[in-house]
Symmetry: C2
Amino acid sequence: MNEFELIAKLTKSLPTNENVLCGTGDDCAVLDFGAPDQLFLFKTDAVVEGIHFDKTASPEQVGRKALARCLSDIAAMAGTPSAALVTIGLPQKFDADFVARIYDGMGGMAKQFGVAIVGGETTTNPERIFISIALLGTVGRGKQVMRSEARAGDAIFVTGELGGSIAGKHLDFEPRLVEARWLADHFPIHAMIDLSDGLAGDLRHIVKASGVGAELLKTAVPVSPVAKASARKSSTARPAFAAALADGEDFELLFTVAAKDAVKLLDAWKKRFPKLKLTCIGKMTAGDGILVRDKTGSHKLNIHGYAHFQGKTE
Amino acid sequence: MNEFELIAKLTKSLPTNENVLCGTGDDCAVLDFGAPDQLFLFKTDAVVEGIHFDKTASPEQVGRKALARCLSDIAAMAGTPSAALVTIGLPQKFDADFVARIYDGMGGMAKQFGVAIVGGETTTNPERIFISIALLGTVGRGKQVMRSEARAGDAIFVTGELGGSIAGKHLDFEPRLVEARWLADHFPIHAMIDLSDGLAGDLRHIVKASGVGAELLKTAVPVSPVAKASARKSSTARPAFAAALADGEDFELLFTVAAKDAVKLLDAWKKRFPKLKLTCIGKMTAGDGILVRDKTGSHKLNIHGYAHFQGKTE
């Protein structure tokens, strides 16, 4: 049983109550406490030494990444982050300076986006550092963008460039909070997700949640120069397109919008965010899976995302 | 550097914002999102295999305890818990049934108190199970009970009986949510905390936060039968009174109220909660430390709580 199968099993019959608009199944939980124009977004995310970072990462980068991952999930719902709690599991003989530097990295990221760090705890995890962040944010009622509202015919957009994040971007990516709020404020965005599992895996989340299909145009997918260079350097490296589909931890925004809004959106984006690439990479379809169109035709995508990576597209 | 010293160092200059009424330093963070009659309580707490539970605990008990610890913190502020997120770090080869049973224990506790479990994640922690719970609750504006408002002359009360929790109570304690809300609804409670570090450590938190002192009456402190039996059984066991002061994980309520309200409160409590002991164990003083009064006089308490336990009182 892998992570996704276990979660599916565990989340089948979770207790709920009248505050829950959306529990599991999206980037954040969405909660309603009765405020006329405000909903709450609630998210946790963990990074573990040896799994999500290693000794080559500075403690500042580790702290920054831990918080930035949660911020990216708030961005994916077009929300505004407010308050974070930090749980750190540490070996019994920890280096206090190292931990203080983790907090420094986290604090810098928090200040950049107006987030308060309102506490947390340190506890013992003898073999490795384990950091779990809980983040609370808000979104205007009705302004939350879910994964589940993509429609057949929608244009699919992605910010930035994909693949090869392990070379460095996974530690210093910018959560797309400003961009996501701008999008939701100016266009009727149908569905949005942040790319943590990789384009193939995360687009599949939208496809499944929305009950539609998707078709990607292979040549349109913006592959990062790092992924391209890595593919050129070694014959055993993942091909660049496969890296863009499945590397994961890009933390870019993937969203869909009615086709009629696509050109207008792209034009407005270029004026507002001239330095950040936005690319239309395909369209949602009436089908139920993901197709990749290249010069030889349309092929069923057989990469399930980071956790299931099979190393080839068919 | 121990846990408390590290936290003090880390929390000196945390980023804050306009939503924060109280960040670190109390049982929960208190957040204000502008609702006229509602504040939010935000808390995380972790339990780690081999630290907070061992192989003798059933997975249901582990899940129950993980959530109940957070619920106890919401109780300590007189709040109402609403939504929880669950992070579980697991060895790569985990037993899915074991994890499902952790969720069962957690789910039972959640249902008992109307709490929704709105998601979370599983991740890898190769050597041991690491569970972190984030809990969001609410409290009426102005109804939150802090640690910092105890006044000299207040009567000090504690629910239940203290000490020896390791024999079983640490796994099956009842978070005092109903009792705490009833207290805050019916009496002007000045300060409250839940007993996680032990009476000595947690009373010291109130003393420090409130800038007052405290005097405990040794014979009044309700020592649990388990702690008494354990002290009788072995000459090397902690004396029963020391166990009540310092064992930790009692998860009872410790609170202070104006002396003039003490008798009225005790009478009303006995009618409302006839099965749960409530004991007046001393009074807050104009001093700055904790004294213990016994038949030989008044002695300075030299037990700093669970993390610092020295094994003797002086």
